[in-house]
């Protein structure tokens, strides 16, 4: 695992002044199970987001020759698959500066694992866009 000394050495080579950076560095590495995890991303609007956050379940329905739809208790949403040419890396433990500021830990180095990536042609990384049907 990378040490703080190695992080600082890299900063020196990159000609970055530690005085211009926040004190906590995050070292990202790919998890051992990277690329074999079956992750899928579902893009949701505000309504669906609140619905899921309230702890309710959803169902994907459709006959084999039909377009799939997403059903909540009272609404049905259109489901689309989309690809992106950009790489989307999922990093669960990574923190934003605001989160780091409110963290009571005094660690200067956090190790984070990149769990998965989604990109074009990557079957597990399928993104669903959801629009209300009726």
């Amino acid at each position: 695992m990378r040490t703080l000394q190695e992080i600082h050495a890299t900063l020196q080579v990159a000609k970055l002044d530690p005085a211009e950076l926040q004190p906590v560095a995050q070292c990202l590495s790919f998890s051992e199970s990277f690329s074999s995890e079956d992750y899928c991303l579902l893009e949701v609007d505000d309504t669906l987001c609140k619905y899921i956050e309230s702890g309710q379940s959803l169902t994907i329905r459709g006959d084999l020759d039909e377009h799939a739809v997403l059903c909540s208790e009272d609404k049905t949403f259109d489901l689309k698959m989309a690809d992106t040419s950009n790489m989307l890396l999922i990093v669960p433990d990574c923190r934003t500066p605001n989160q780091l500021a409110s963290d009571s830990s005094t660690d200067q180095l956090i190790h984070c694992q990149v769990k998965s990536l989604c990109k074009q042609g990557f079957l597990e990384g399928v993104i669903f866009f959801v629009e209300i049907l009726y």
Partner: protein
Amino acid sequence: MVRIRIQPHRSEGGSGPEWLMSELQGEIEALGHSGLPGNLMGDLHFSTEGIPILIIGHHILYSKISHLERPFVVLVKKICTRAGAESAIETERVEQGVGEESASFCYHVTAIIKKKIIFKTHPKPIITNVPKKL
């Protein structure tokens, strides 16, 4: 009729914990034949103004944190137990009187992503050996 359930998270509200996502243009490749799993990706720093700075190999990338207007719900495919899936599918069979393929897997809501670190600028190379002028 295919039915695939999306189960809410067991704890921490139906959407689970909030994770962070990183979006990059292009591809990340591992040097040699080691592949990506288990390997180091890079160091993530934040400037004092909160600008994310990622050092990957001999490149520096500057980026920004952007709030997703439409969050991503992270789903993981799981094999559903017969007990869990049974009730909905058995009722369906009785109503339709037709035996059909029943989904033996479901999706579990694992996390929600509301922010991403988006790297749009071209990576800047870190030059370490500058030959001295003769």
